[in-house]
Symmetry: C2
Subunit: 177 residues, 2 copies
């Protein structure tokens, strides 16, 4: 396997090293573009049967993963505006996939939960993505799982990593990991 150049390489082979690095980075750009496009293609096809879009998938996904989260939490995770979220959230509630419960300690807050129907839809949407991930992990070699996770995590900015950390903590508490 080829050795990747480090950022501090220099000397007579400097130009050649820069060329290799450039080719790798440009290749990665394309891989990420195509991979993300095909990763979302499976769920998108299911969603269109319900008249939903990718935004609905994201809401279903995060409410599934973080039961009881508030609208404000969701806005922060998704990085969209309240008005953008309101539309898709209302459609999901009207369709019976999500229900809201008033927080008993602070009655201003609405906790979001998936209904049974919502859980079923969320599972159906995840299925094609999990198949892809399973295939891809197998192709990469499952022993590289941690490296792949480290790669993707470092692509996420500081705020996003913090949000994911909070999500993991919440899941551990609520699922008794």
């Amino acid at each position: 396997m080829a050795q990747a150049p480090s950022a501090t390489d220099s000397g007579s082979a400097g130009t050649r090293v820069a060329t290799v690095r450039t080719a790798r980075y440009a290749n990665m750009q394309e891989l990420l573009f195509f991979a993300y496009r095909d990763f979302t293609a499976g769920p998108d096809a299911i969603l269109s049967e319900y008249g939903f879009g990718r935004a609905h998938h994201r809401v279903l996904h995060f409410v599934h993963r973080w039961p009881g989260l508030t609208v404000a939490d969701l806005l922060e995770i998704l990085g969209i505006t309240k008005q953008s979220l309101a539309r898709v959230l209302k459609q999901l509630i009207d369709a019976g996939h999500i229900e809201q419960k008033t927080n008993v300690r602070d009655r201003r807050q609405r906790e979001l939960y998936l209904t049974d129907e919502g859980e079923n839809l969320a599972a159906a949407l995840s299925a094609p993505q999990w198949r892809l991930i399973e295939q891809a992990l197998h192709a990469a070699g499952t022993e590289h799982y941690d490296a792949i996770v480290a790669f993707l995590r470092r692509m996420i900015d500081e705020d996003g990593r913090l949000a994911m950390g909070a999500l993991e903590d919440h899941r551990r508490r609520s699922e008794g990991d």
Copy 2:
């Protein structure tokens, strides 16, 4: 490092294994969502200064990587309709970032090239993405480059992998690899 379960695992530890797999896949779903979002955030900020969007970036990227490609090639790579492409392509041509040359062997075809200005913009857009990739590869360990590429490649469907293969062949020929 933990071993990933295979799809054929069974027996008394089956439930535990399925739980580990489920957690990994759900984690990957989120990582891909956040990583792609932040990966596109850098270029998006630059593009908005020009009144361009992500679609313009994709066109600039592929014309840079595949100089002389035709409109039909671009449609196939991007997987969008002629009408959708026409809008952004026209804006890029009008703004002087892309120029068209009639193919001398088949005067129906228009070959697409970046102008110097287009090359500069394409390079500026790639810079933040390359920084992220460099950081991420370093965090993952550069020795895992091939595994990460294998992972991403296998996420892409058959057609997409063929398109990328054609792109690589073309680049090798035109850059004398």
